[in-house]
């Protein structure tokens, strides 16, 4: 059809710039096709292929980093995708997260006796969606990425035949589908107000057609709907209600994936929509972000503190972390120089590694307790598995924001960005809510270190690749926590967007 259209000229395709996406899709297709046509592979091989795929995509992204230093950011594929440091940084983050989650999944599936390529393929498909979201320069492309990610996540959440997993999948699907619809309607309204779905053109339209004081009711209504959709995806209060149930019900490795890749991609989309497409509306969206941030921080940490299940605790804590990241987004929404965007992406990278490590430890504990992830299952863990408990402690202290961990550097970054633009109130609220959240992390630590189980509990199995994932995450958390400069340097340039 298109070929017959004389007005259609095929755009130049920058294949090299698309290589991370192509690698991820290629890996997914390879797993599905070859995996389906060949007899069962040796244990772990599906996972290793996934890791190799993610590493390849990550390396492609790394190789292109200096390209932007030399030539500056650009839009590619006829303006559909943005090729800038934000894209590459989040691509690398997502690839790191996929590799770590795949390590964890090898053991999870082996123990469950379900070693098969499907889950890995879904991870790669979801990661592709995430990369597309973070590089989208068109609202429709953004939506395509969002749906690719979300549909994969719905399937992943429901991938075990347990009632909890099925329930998590259906809840996530119904609510997520609703949020996607709201988001799509938002795109439509913004299109109505700006006559374009292209992010560059939307941003440009404010200097030409739409009056600068942002009075276009269509754009404002569209912005409101977009914010609802995005807030749902990042699980910001009051759009967070799905997350504890879904996090708790989904298989551990899927929860780790949602909390890392899902969150990173959703925030990437938020940055694209708010900072690249609608920067001229910043006075309209910034107060909304402020309120979302404060609600997420306070309610997330308060509700986390009263949970009795560790997965639910971590779910609410991820809500509170979303609040922290929103503080960075809010700071980035002020006019003038600031490093809000850099602090947001650094936070996403650090938090992704942290949260995968935390859920990996939860997975270790859950195996030997018949899937029990309640706080009491952690009692006396330090006596049985001191090294793993130490790693858990590192993750929890990092999430609480204790120095010499990446968690502290991440929190310091966003608060610094907020203070730089004189948002003192939100900085103080964020730090105080970190104290409330710290209470919850302390509860887990008390249970693991200080509570002694009366009856003899069997020592948890610690399968090798899970331990490897935990070890890598813990070492990253401490080493980068002590010497964060290279990550911060790298993140510094992400605020130069392709338009």
């Amino acid at each position: 059809m298109l070929a017959q259209d004389t007005f259609f000229t095929a755009p130049d395709i920058e294949w090299w710039h698309l290589s991370p996406i192509l690698a991820l899709v290629g890996g997914a297709l390879f797993l599905l096709l070859v995996g389906a046509l060949t007899p069962r592979w040796p244990r772990g091989l599906y996972g290793i292929v996934t890791i190799v795929t993610a590493a390849t995509a990550g390396v492609f992204a790394v190789l292109q980093w200096s390209d932007i230093d030399d030539n500056g950011p650009a839009t590619i594929v006829d303006g559909a995708l943005a090729f800038d440091h934000l894209t590459l940084f989040l691509t690398i983050t997502i690839c790191v997260a996929v590799a770590l989650v795949a390590l964890l999944t090898i053991d999870e599936l082996a123990i469950a006796g379900k070693d098969a390529p499907e889950m890995y393929a879904m991870f790669l498909v979801a990661a592709t969606g995430g990369v597309v979201m973070s590089s989208a320069n068109d609202m429709i492309v953004l939506f395509l990425g969002l749906e690719t990610l979300s549909l994969a996540l719905y399937v992943l959440a429901a991938s075990y035949r347990t009632p909890e997993s099925q329930e998590a999948g259906i809840k996530y699907f119904v609510l997520g589908g609703f949020a996607s619809a709201v988001f799509l309607y938002g795109i439509a309204l913004v299109y109505g107000g700006t006559q374009s779905t292209n992010i560059s053109e939307i941003a440009a339209s404010f200097t030409t057609t739409v009056s600068l004081d942002g009075d276009s009711p269509l754009v404002l209504a569209g912005l409101a709907l977009l914010l609802v959709g995005l807030a749902f995806k990042v699980a910001a209060v009051p759009f967070h209600v799905w997350s504890p149930d879904v996090y708790q019900g989904a298989p551990n490795q899927v929860t780790a994936f949602m909390a890392s890749v899902g969150k990173a991609a959703a925030f990437a989309a938020m940055l694209r929509v708010l900072l690249v497409a609608l920067p001229f509306q910043r006075d309209d969206w910034r107060p909304v972000i402020w309120v979302l941030a404060v609600l997420s921080l306070v309610i997330g940490s308060l509700l986390a503190a009263v949970q009795s299940d560790v997965k639910r605790m971590l779910a609410y804590s991820s809500v509170s972390h979303a609040g922290f990241i929103l503080v960075g987004v809010e700071a980035a929404g002020h006019a003038g120089p600031n490093d809000g965007t850099a602090s947001v992406v650094a936070y996403l990278l650090f938090y992704s590694v942290l949260t995968i490590g935390s859920f990996a430890v939860v997975a270790v504990v859950a195996h030997s307790n018949g899937g029990d992830t309640s706080l009491t299952a952690f009692n006396g863990l330090a006596r049985r598995r001191p090294a793993i408990t130490l790693a858990l402690t590192v993750f929890l202290l990092a999430q609480a924001g204790v120095p010499f961990t990446t968690g502290f550097v991440a929190k310091f970054g966003v608060i610094q960005a907020a203070v730089d633009v004189n948002s003192y109130a939100i900085g103080i609220i964020a730090m105080l809510s970190a104290v409330i959240a710290a209470f919850m992390y302390l509860r887990i630590m008390v249970s693991a270190w200080l509570t002694v189980e009366e009856t003899e509990v069997a020592k948890e199995q610690a399968p090798i690749s899970t331990v490897l994932a935990i070890g890598i995450a813990a070492i990253f958390t401490v080493v980068v926590g002590i010497y964060p400069e290279w990550v911060l340097d790298t993140a510094e340039s992400v605020a130069v967007f392709a338009r």
Partner: protein, 528 residues
């Protein structure tokens, strides 16, 4: 500038215990006996370096010495900037001396020998954190160390404490972290606002900001209070003190010694270094608030201590009172009072540290801390009683012992500036005599009774641990000059800095002020 040591001694002071902690963590549980050896070597080395530092310290130099400055996170203007002056010197020395004593002299009370390993690792990590806090000249670096000490202390209290330890440890952690939350925001705001008012570029360098930044009065006050809340919790200043009796009482003996000895000083030291030095105007402006709270703290701590039935809690409340004196001296803004405060920080660390040590030994022998269940210990353990007596008298502030010098300087210095506050605070000295002597009478005098018959005499190891404490107590009490000579220049410089920035002039020295401590001022000191 004079010759500096080529050896980066301050960095070594921070890193040696940290390396020790890592080494201990790496030792396998089957060879746990080496853990103690590593802990002993690293803590004694650190102590020796602290003594060496004191010996090499240039007495007449009022600025920072042995300064090390290496960029750490250049992106954010953060550097590894360490330095020591007369105000921090003796706190570093105290830290260096107290930790080996706590590590070698006190056994953790637990039933499983395998658990000594983490205990020692946490203690060494704590030492590194405390050292770092006292030596940092970078706001970020200071915050990092100030915050990191919470973690080892949390685990020490929670893991090796007494019956209510989990509650006490959690309360301690959350209280202090709440204070730090305000300080962190304040630190960042200070750096950014300073970068727009006199300092070139965003930097967290303390000296750079303190010397060059010009804060508007109201801005400075907000920033000051952000810092001050964190320090007020740490000190603790009444009414933020409620974590302290729990934490002190539930902590293991070594934890209490370190907590009282050096950790509370992070608060009072912080007020001097990051309150008065960074925000002279705001500190001076708010002085009546602090003086008032200090006086209330002195009286409240003393009265609460009198009412305690638990010996360890009594000592804990006496800390509230003693730290009230230190805060009083800090905000009197006279050279004598601040010198006295700095001195009293060290004195309180020594005497209260020793008190907690001995109360710990009493608990080990009798498995109770209740004053009512103890009596007549002097009859069965006279040397123990004598040791306790010396330490207690030092805590009361009897002339000839160290506590007197500090308290006297604080009171005389405060009297120069604010006579009424000094007069009320002086009654705290009398109350201290009351509650401590009364406790001594109940515990050590009278008949031992059946339960206390078997109370063992001071053991050789215990005597060896106690002796350094008593040595410092007596030496400083009789000959405080070497200490004062090193503290005073730095304090005078600080006062000069406050005078140059705030609308303030230190009280004129024309008034007849007797600085020699052997001329006791009758009206001030009372008779005890």
């Amino acid at each position: 500038m004079h010759d500096e040591l080529s050896f980066p001694i301050l960095t070594a002071l921070v890193l040696t215990p940290a390396i020790g902690a890592v080494l201990i963590a790496l030792i396998s549980s089957r060879q746990a006996q080496y853990a103690k050896l590593v802990a002993a070597i690293t803590s004694v080395t650190t102590g020796a370096m602290a003594i060496w530092l004191t010996a090499e310290f240039h007495q007449s130099d009022d600025g920072f010495q042995f300064v090390t400055k290496q960029p750490w996170i250049e992106e954010w203007g953060i550097s590894w900037h360490l330095g020591v002056d007369g105000i921090s010197l003796f706190l570093v020395l105290l830290t260096g001396v107290l930790f080996p004593l706590a590590i070698l002299g006190i056994d953790p009370h637990n039933d499983e020998p395998g658990r000594d390993k983490p205990y020692l690792a946490w203690l060494l990590l704590l030492e590194a954190g405390v050292m770092g806090s006292f030596l940092s000249l970078d706001l970020f670096l200071f915050f990092v160390f100030f915050e990191i000490v919470l973690v080892p202390m949390y685990f020490l209290i929670g893991g090796w404490g007494y019956e209510g330890r989990v509650y006490a440890a959690t309360k301690f952690f959350l209280y202090t972290m709440t204070g730090s939350a305000f300080m962190l925001v304040s630190i960042m705001a200070t750096a950014y606002i300073a970068s727009r008012n006199g300092v070139s570029g965003v930097t967290f360098d303390l000296v750079e900001i303190a010397e060059n930044a010009e804060f508007a009065a109201s801005t400075g006050r907000w920033l000051f209070f952000g810092f001050a809340i964190a320090f007020a919790v740490k000190v603790p200043v009444f009414p933020l003190h409620t974590w302290l009796p729990d934490a002190h009482t539930q902590a293991p003996t070594a934890g209490s010694v370190v907590l009282a000895g050096v950790m509370l000083k992070l608060g009072t030291y912080g007020l001097l270094r990051f309150g008065l030095y960074l925000f002279p105007e705001a500190a001076y402006w708010s002085r009546y608030l602090w003086l008032g709270l200090a006086v209330v703290g002195i009286l409240y701590g003393a009265i609460a201590a009198t009412m305690q039935t638990d010996l360890k809690r009594l000592v804990a409340y006496s800390s509230v009172a003693h730290l009230g004196f230190i805060v009083l001296g800090t905000f009197a803004f006279t050279s004598q009072a601040i010198t006295g405060s700095v001195m009293q920080m060290v004195n309180h660390g020594v005497s209260t540290g020793a008190l907690f040590l001995m109360v710990g030994w009493i608990y080990e022998r009798r498995h109770t801390r209740q004053i009512a269940e103890l009596s007549g210990l002097q009859k069965v353990a006279p040397i123990f009683a004598a040791g306790f007596m010396v330490v207690m008298l030092s805590s009361i502030g009897v002339p000839g012992l160290n506590g007197f010098v500090g308290e006297y300087l604080i009171l005389i210095g405060t009297f120069l500036a604010e006579p009424w506050y000094a007069a009320i605070a002086a009654t705290g000295v009398i109350l201290a005599a009351l509650y401590l002597l009364w406790a001594y009478q109940r515990v050590f005098h009278g008949e031992p009774g059946e339960a206390n018959e078997g109370f063992a005499e001071l053991k050789l190891k215990e005597a060896a641990t106690l002796l350094p404490f008593i040595g410092i107590i007596v030496f400083t009490g009789v000959y405080p000059k070497p200490m004062l000579d090193r503290i005073e220049p730095a304090v005078d410089r600080l006062i000069g800095h406050v005078e140059s920035v705030a609308d303030f002039e230190a009280p004129s020295p024309d008034e007849p002020v007797i600085v020699e401590h052997d001329d006791a001022d009758e009206t001030e000191e009372g008779d005890h």
